[in-house]
Amino acid sequence: MSRLLRALALITVAVLVATACRQEVKTAVGVVGRTITLGQISALTGTVAVIGKPLTKGQEVYWQYVNDVLGGVGQKLSKEERYKVELVTLDSQYRPDIQVQQYNAMKDKVLMITQSLGTAHTNAILPQINEDKILTAAATLSSDWPKQKYVVATGAPYPAQFINAAQYLKDKGITPKAGIIYQDDDYGLDGVKGLEFAAKEFGFQIVARATYKTTDTSYAAPVTAMKTAGADYVFLASTPTATGTILGTAATLAYAPQFIGLSPSWAGALTGTAEKPSPILGFMQKQFWVVTDAQCAWGDTKVGCEGMKELLDNHKKFGGDQPPDYYFIFGYTQARVVHQILEKAVEMGDLTRAGVVKAFESLKNVNMGGLLNPISYGPTCQEKIPATGSTIWRIDPAQPIALANVATLDSPTVKKFQFC
């Protein structure tokens, strides 16, 4: 009996000692001394890595620029007082459940999250973001974000892109017979919402709709549906691999409408390489447009594109072997927006999580040097839409990222869309 008691006593002591070793919760989260820690949860592996990796690189290059060239966050402070930024980057593998785990891994270390890639994925961590009150910049343009208190949208939501494209058609006097091929998830549905609103406002018909799944091998059915309905303008809410196959299938079926894709529908690799261009490069050049946030083209350094000049300089200095890429621009721009929020927080004297949220809500009319239209945020949902302009591009393999400007516009109809 006494042996048992002795054993239990030993264990109790051991446990009490171990308990004392448990770390106490930090009070100033994410800011230690003069270092701010920011988190990134991105898709560094998996099919979306073509987006996630350049995007993450864009962020890294920007923050390196802030640390090395600008001396840190806090432009009004003296050089020694500025805050250096450290990044914690974790891979979500483009799975929402891993996103949650990675969020848990970083939540006690970061002041805010500067990149959360994926609509469903950011939604997966939303309950906890709201509970932990960590401001998060979403690297997707879902129309849900303005409704959230703790999510920063760094571009116009996807419906805006289609509405602007429809405005462009209307301005040219075209009444399209519209079709839409969309991915079978919420990203695709966002595109549908935008097109339906545009159809109502501008008075044209959506004659065909078709979905696809990312694991599909054959896109004959959706493309044939468009062809049968006689759609002459087919909107695509898709991702690059699907877009390539859709365009190829259309070429096969001798069906040549004008395809208009949302920004994620495009990746530079679709044109092939200089030695081995895509067999349908000619078709793509004539029949495909991509819509993105209004921005200067890669390499464009005219007046109004100072931000692009800064990006090009930093890309050369810190970019390593990252080739020119649209998503690099997106990540860089997103980091720039987050930087403005942090600067505002330092200015307001409150670099805590709550302070960062307040800074976000008070950010107004920030010049983005042409990387985006000037952005503004605010406490209400409508104010949290930073900008609404889009640029329409056509494919031009001669350009650095194979995109040449067709038109830039900011349709007033976008403001009428019910984002909130």
């Binding site: 048992l4 054993a7 239990l8 264990i11 109790t12 446990v15 171990a18 308990t19 070793c21 448990r22 770390q23 919760v25 560094l44 592996t45 890595a49 990796k53 993450t56 690189k57 890294e60 980057t89 891979d91 593998q93 799975r95 929402p96 459940d97 949650v100 785990q101 848990n104 891994a105 006690d108 609509t119 469903a120 939604n123 997966a124 961590i125 939303l126 309950p127 906890q128 079978d184 998830d185 919420d186 390593g320 990252q322």
Partner: protein
Amino acid sequence: MSRPAGLHTRYDEEIALLRNRADRIWLALLAVILVATPFAIDDFWLSVLTFTAISAIGAIGLNLLTGYTGQVSLGHAFFLGLGAYTAAYLGGDLGLPVLVWLPAAGILGALAGVLIGPFALRLKGLYLAIVTLGLVFLGEYLFSNLRSITGGPQGRAIPSPRIGGLNFADLGASLGLPFDREQSFFLFVVPILVVAVVAAKNVVRSRPGRAFQAIRDREIAASIIGVDVARYKVAAFALSSFYAAVAGALLGSYVRHVTPGSFDLFVSIQFVAMIIVGGVGTVYGSVFGALFIVLIPRLVEQVSPLLPFVDPSGSGAGVTVFTLNQIIFGVLIVGFLVAEPAGLAGIWARLRTYFRSWPFSY
């Protein structure tokens, strides 16, 4: 003094869970450690243990089906999803307390298992595995399309386990005790795991368990000696799905948000890996296997900054942590199957025999 293990003179001694005083002491020790753990380790590792506990419940269910009854199933993820969405609907939309939705999730899973079970009567071995694979795809289709219940492709939120104002995921706030959310959930899940283990052990050591194992070993011979193969196969599916659905409901309640993609084929494969690594046909093996499979990727992540060939952001020359983890996962499966088919439980059993017969271990 107690008799040496292995010499039994009565039936209930042979099937007893705790054979002698030494077993009871170890159990008490384990209980103390389990209760003390949340106060001794930090939140990150605690969350790893919580994931382990939840996965272990699912793994026990799969082991009952595949390990004990020999019915290969790749569809475990489907039942997990069923449980999670049931919890979401009953707990979230209908606002019922966890005392209702947790068992209800299990029961719904069991009912689904009863529906799937008859397929096992017609199909053997690999063909059954393929049909259960089809279940996973069916699940993905249903979870994406039944939007009113499942929230569609973007998934939906799942409430924390609560009974009225008492929130088990945040006992600190509800009861004014000094727990945080991780500690609270761990203390909520562990008793459920204990119940699951004891229940499984009871099934295994009694008549249904023997029937399951007879079916696994020699099905036709079992039916000849009077085992009702049809009934026990369906029962195995129902029981396994019950466990899976409970695990799914707990998982959903822990991560607070699920999507159809959370229940894909890879999740099924992870559970099969858990029982292979842990030990097919053992209950404790399921727990060991769950711990191993959940722990290794987290350990690799912690260690990865020290490894020269790992490049965290994936934009450089090395492999990412994910790639490394996947390779380790695949190698583990292959390695255990080739070299140690009895899994960790087999290794543990050998270790125990070694120490028990020491110094005569040769």
